[in-house]
Amino acid sequence: MVTRGFVGRRQPPETGARLPPGQYLTDDFPILQIGPNPTVDMATWRFTLREGSRPIKAWSWAEFEALPRTTWHGDIHCVTKWSKFDTTWEGVSFDDILADAGIAAPTGYLLAESHDDYTTNVPVADLVGGRALVATRYEGQPIHPDHGGPARLFVPHLYFWKSAKWVKGLRFTQTDTAGFWELRGYHMYGDPWREQRYIGD
């Protein structure tokens, strides 16, 4: 349906090719979250891997920081339509977390759990093979609390609500279990290139 008089501000072709459908490019770093930043105490910070309610392994901040580091450079896409190009993130890859825990993923799905009670689901297949980090640095600096520091899940090939801020652990689940936004109508998977914003997209 055409809207009379709407022309739109086109992107240059090289930008347009890098933007998933319905996204626009921004230079700032917008912030979206359900409540205030949670207070995270580094002295008692733990990152915990669970299967259902059973803990598999937990790391203190020092133990987590001592794991092998991976750097990722590229574009990120938020479901609220902004994309940001050429960002650099550093952290521990999901593969290295599993290796340090000495396990293979016990199920095909998991829920990321955050200090603010936020949750989001991601298939394990989307986290392995170097595709995801638990990030602790952005552009070479510790991640600012506004952007989810000290640690956030980082799954850049999915919409950014999957990259849970202030992550405190990952919980393997038997089935793909909706998290906070997925319960409220957001897509279960969230591929920006297929524009999977909401249920039914």
Partner: protein
């Protein structure tokens, strides 16, 4: 849907969002930079105060742009809903609304989106609302909903605007505050002689008027939301009560 779902909270119904055609039925200036836009559409009777819709504009050649806008109106049986859109310099979508849109024009809407940032009387109170600039829009919808049916629920609005002339719906809010002893308005204007930013005394005053809040909703720029949450947390309000929404940088 690519994968199996199992919804863990049966209280929340699955929602399907589809695009609805919407026709503009009224446009009116609200402040020098903000226009009220009334739209007739199928969504008009099925949202909660505080929720937003996605708006999609399509050019002749198929190019599309989408942005989110909070609904300003409370459901009123008219088959229409109201958005309030601030013209940003060079804004792709807000620019079309402020310079081009006319009664009878058609756009597409989908939603309602944003279940956690929403309120209805049965959610209770007291309600502490904080809005910066156009961030007041979803809070206005909550206050309008409250004024329809729930005036016994105490409510306070902390509202930060650049100037009084730029404050959205300020006359309506002042009328409500005068007529309704359970509602108080705490306006801070930042770019006027004698103006100021929201501060601890202002927040303490708002809390003194309503007592211990049951729900807190904050909306505006990152800076406003961060400042307001810090001030409210410093007054001893539990973080779990606070819901935030941010319109951008």
């Amino acid at each position: 849907m690519s994968s199996a779902t199992s919804v863990t909270d049966p209280a929340i119904e699955p929602i399907v969002f589809r695009w609805h055609e919407a026709e503009i039925t009224a446009i009116a200036p609200v402040t020098p930079h903000v226009k009220s836009v009334r739209l007739r559409c199928g969504l008009a009777e099925s949202y909660r105060a505080g929720q937003h819709v996605d708006v999609r504009l399509t050019a002749e050649d198929g190019y599309q742009a989408q942005r989110s806008y909070s609904v300003a109106s409370a459901q009123d049986g008219s088959g229409t809903l109201e958005l309030m859109i601030e013209a940003l310099p060079d804004g792709e979508v807000s620019g079309w609304f402020s310079h081009c849109a006319e009664i009878g024009d058609r756009v597409e809407l989908r939603g309602p989106i944003g279940g956690s940032f929403s309120w209805d009387g049965s959610d209770g109170g007291p309600l502490l609302l904080g809005g910066g600039g156009s961030g007041v829009v979803p809070l206005l919808a909550m206050l309008r909903r409250r004024a329809q049916n729930w005036r016994e629920i105490p409510a306070a609005l902390i509202y930060s605007a650049r100037t009084r002339a730029e404050a959205i719906a300020v006359a309506e809010l002042e009328r409500l505050a005068e007529a309704d002893p359970n509602f108080s308005l705490h306006l801070a204007t930042t770019r006027e002689p004698g103006g100021k930013r929201i501060d601890a005394p202002l927040v303490a005053d708002a809390l003194a008027r309503i007592g211990s809040p049951g729900k807190v909703f904050l909306c505006g720029s990152n800076r406003f939301v961060a400042a307001a949450s810090d001030l409210i947390l410093a007054q001893g309000v539990a973080p779990g009560l606070i819901r935030t929404e941010r319109f951008g940088a």
